[in-house]
Symmetry: none
Subunit: 125 residues, 4 copies
């Protein structure tokens, strides 16, 4: 049994950045914090942030301009959605469905909860 288990910190930072992209708080073309600034602001070793940035650059979500800094890529939003949607559907949903089985929650119940949740964004148009 593992307690303090968690995803690598660099992936958590990536999630944090993706969250900002997905919620459009960070938009295409915007400069993001430098490796050192980010590291200082979240109190993490700069190498860890560098790894995050490198990973996100691989994913085409941010890009680097040597000597200038990192920027949100033009198609960061759809790429991030694709990346995270994949995680969500393949890693996360199966767990959710399993939990529902174990707890005896039916898909109809879930629909119910969805339709009656606080922020009624369901049928807005």
């Amino acid at each position: 049994m593992e307690f303090r288990k968690q995803k690598g910190i660099y992936l958590q930072i990536a999630d944090y950045i993706c969250e900002n992209v997905l919620t459009e708080q960070w938009k295409a073309g915007e400069k993001i914090l430098s490796v050192r600034e980010m590291a200082a602001s979240i109190e993490v070793n700069p190498n860890t942030v560098a790894r995050t940035y490198s990973y996100l650059q691989d994913q085409g979500i941010i890009f680097m301009q040597r000597g200038i800094g990192y920027f949100v890529a033009d198609d960061a939003l759809p790429r991030t959605q694709v990346l995270k949607k994949d995680d969500f559907v393949n890693e996360f949903l199966p767990e959710v469905f399993h939990t529902m089985d174990v707890l005896g929650i039916k898909i109809e119940d879930l629909l119910d909860y969805y339709q009656h949740r606080d922020n009624g964004q369901t049928d807005k148009e």
Copy 2:
């Protein structure tokens, strides 16, 4: 940004026990590990396990026989379902729905995934 944040260890242990009850790997009336055995097996302080057991006893999921040990309660399964269903619906589902919004996943997509998942338990009866 928080990296080390987590539920208390004693609640994680409770979750582990609940999982075993829910999946019926531990059945009503069965003796569970003693406080000290459990503590040794998961490498945690006995006091922490004692707190878990005390919490689960309050919830009516396990019961104690002084000088003998702890046992799975007769109605542990339904009680655990109720307990966890609550968590699931109030803590977990809202997050899921928020993530779906952000990722542009519609409830219909989710239904789709549900109906086409591996173990086709959807409409068996």
Copy 3:
């Protein structure tokens, strides 16, 4: 023969607090001593007081405001009465009746004592 036997200290502290609630020396909404203040004032380990407060919070007799402190709950008085009435009837009264038997005191004698005690609140209305 046991000399040092007693209820757990944390329960004795709970009794002390309940007493203050029952006699309305502590009223609904009042802040009570912080865990550390109480611990210092009664010369007990803070963990022990924390356990007492946690227990009383479970009972709905006090409530916590994170970073602020603990307060007497709105319906502390009735809840305390219920809690203690239970103790009185199930734990205490049987002992009293047994003692009366052993001492040859009849229930009528007890009624007599009740009606002639100092503060004649018996039949005031």
Copy 4:
């Protein structure tokens, strides 16, 4: 606030002896444990037991035969009843009645509990 507070140990030993007299487990004329035996059996300093015996001898509940030991007095039972009845009525009952007031328990409730307690010794004849 005092926790390990209690009556003097010598009085607790006296209570223990009185209990045995009242329940007629020890009868008039029987020899009781020697000071040293009693002290050893309850793991207490012999001086403490000596004080108890001296106190009970003053009350006429036990008597001593020099070089032989202590014995239960002939009229130990009634004397003990008187002694304890006094305590019960003057020390104990007022507390009980006060507690009942604070808890909102009426004398009629108490009669009820008395008549419905487990061992129906109420109207045996």
